[in-house]
Amino acid sequence: MLRIESKEGRAPDLEVVAAAWDSARARALRRIVVCAGTGCIANGSLKVYEALKARAAEAGLKVSIGLDVHNDARKDALLTKSGCQGFCQVGPLVTIEPDGILYTHVHVEDVPEIVEKTLVRGEAIERLQYRDPVSGEVKRGKGEIDFYARQDRRVLSACGVVDPEDLYEYIARDGYRAARKALLEMSPAEVCEVMKASGLRGRGGAGFPTGRKWELALRQDEKEKYIICNGDEGDPGAFMDRSVLEGNPHSVVEGMLIGARATGATVGYVYVRAEYPLAVVRIRAAVEAARASGFLGKDIMGSGVDFDIRVMEGAGAFVCGEASAMVSSIMGNRGMPRPKPPRTAEKGLWGKPTVVNNVETLAQVATIVLHGAAEYRRTGTESSPGTKTYALTGHVANTGLIEVPFGTSLRTVLFDIGGGVLGKDGKPDNAAFKAVQIGGPSGGCLTKEHLDIPMDFDSLGAIGAMVGSGGLVVMNDSTCMVQMARFFMHFTQNESCGKCVPCREGTRQILALLDDIIEGRADETTLGLIEELCENVAESSLCGLGASAPSPVLSMLRQFRPEFEAHVRDKRCPTGQCKALSPFAIDPAACKGCGMCAKACPASAISGERKEAYRIDQAACLRCGACVATCKFNAIKRGAL
């Protein structure tokens, strides 16, 4: 029997490990993968996992919990957890291989049937499988479901499949081969060249060529250099980086190791926001496992390269996602950005060259080094090669985590993968499509006219939008764009560090003006003043947060000016979302006087006599909507009386 050990911290022989893992895997008849991404966990997937363990044992099945490569025995099944499997809408998700079955909405009550039917008898359970909402067809597994089939999952290829806590599985899937190649067969300059040739652009939002950034750091004549993995994914509605860290953390470790080789960094930091406790746990575990096996530490794989990683949790400041602010935070200070020049690649942590790369960027590095730049460039477009992950959320049928090549159109993403737009009643209604916000609070919105624009850095940049980190929020026609502009401005304003005048004061004033519009106080100067402020903030802010804060507002003003003008001139909110411009009112004709709404109201704003029409006191009304939900007679409506 083969023993895999690291001798004196020396990394094990990769091919030997891979072979051992493959054999061990082959000894299990089936593999059950339970999605343990944050979304599915919130839905109870861990309970499902425990139930499967227990039930399978009761049924006398030999189930291996996690793969033990040193265990010779044959098994009926291998049970593992994975990171986000992507289709959050229909979780908890359970995948069964080699059957190629995907079960959706799995709950503890379903476990006995899964064990009896699928594990013991190899039969699929239709009611748990995905049913296409249009054709009604039952789909066997991921390969048949449009949501998956239309994607090109590369960064995410292992997420949702591998056990993120199994280093050996990572090695079995070519893990650390690229690092070995970079450390033992390539010079730092050669690694930088490959990255440059691949055209990989940073996935954090700015799209700066990674190879050039690494080369800039390599050129600095300093012994002490650093590489930071930016896991402070602060865009609300974005969870791509979280999924990679939860689902395939070793890809990030390996990426950093290769980056260290390319730049000469000896210390790396992974800065993860504390709102991602599972990601923190997984990446810490991966770093420890890598260290224990000799992939981190001194003289890695006998290359003479020293490199180690520290994991740090953010403490709740979106601005720390900005590279120089992150550097400041790691040094124990307030996360305040500093003006550039010099760039952080020249002077970062403690004044030393520091490369800051996004999680998704680092997760692609190993593939590029292993398979070469030309192979990488076969996907995507000329100026934006490769794929991009997106978090697809909002008023769309299939919400979840997706990945498509750059250049894919919005139409494909929204309709073919996303399954189409949901109307205000939650039912499919493509005509209700209003806009997609791309790039979060730094980005812009795309509308019907942009459906066929290729999504890549330059095409989107040309129309005043940006890829950003990859958050895609779909909005139907029940969404008030003024409210959305306000939402994003409120977010950035709240997260502004407060250092520079335009961002600190400017965003606050823009927010106040947007509130004027929403609350019916705007006048003919308001829109012009907002535009002037936006231009100033965008141009004179110190860092990217301020510079891009006005983007959603400007974009929405550009695409939906009539809607803004209705608010300003007519004091009317076309969607009825703006409370001040569309109060709740009880229709006296429909009201039966049952009093249920008054009971539900937390502000005691509803009064009336039994069997007579009730009334809402507008001054006290919070517009929370609790009454609407309680009324069985649909007597409470929004809009001017």
Partner: protein
């Protein structure tokens, strides 16, 4: 009889242990504060001053760092911490109504986040990453998805009842 706050003493010992663990390195101030906050559930003023002195940093600087980051609280938190997610997806699905209803029910106005009886703290957080369940709220990290104002108020009510029953016993 005695009000020996042994837990106070233990917590203070824990602070010293935390400082040791991070080698009293001033650049590790943030992880140190995170660990201290886990111990005390917030950052008491005198502990922050002690940390400052131990790290040879000015108290004003430590105060500045503690007040910059959203996770640090210089006020004691309630027994039940309710977090309502206001990420884009949740927002679009109505999290504001949820927050308003809770604030009214718990009588929290302006900047006030914690009820006077120290039973509840209400916070808005951006993106818990469970967007498929929007709108999402958590109570002491227990996730309640597809939350409605009515459901939220029910949860508050049942907690109050439970606590009242406890106190009576």
């Amino acid at each position: 009889m005695s009000t020996c706050k042994e837990s106070e003493a233990l917590r203070f010992e824990a602070v010293v242990a935390i400082l040791d663990r991070y080698e009293r390195d001033p650049s590790r101030l943030i992880p140190i504060l995170q660990a201290v906050q886990e111990e005390y559930r917030y950052l008491p003023e005198e502990i922050l001053t002690y940390v400052a002195v131990s790290l040879d940093l000015s108290p004003a600087k430590v105060y500045g760092v503690a007040t910059f980051y959203g996770h640090f609280s210089l006020e004691a938190k309630g027994k039940y911490v309710i977090k309502v997610c206001d990420g884009t997806a949740c927002h679009v699905k109505g999290s504001t109504g949820l927050v308003d209803a809770l604030r009214a029910e718990l009588r929290l106005e302006g900047k006030k986040k914690t009820t006077d009886d120290l039973l509840f703290t209400l916070e808005t957080v951006s993106c818990l990453g469970a967007c498929g369940l929007a709108p999402v709220m958590t109570v002491n990290d227990e996730v309640h998805g597809l939350a409605t104002p009515a459901a939220a108020l029910e949860i508050v009510k049942s907690i109050r009842e439970k606590e009242a029953a406890h106190a009576a016993n």
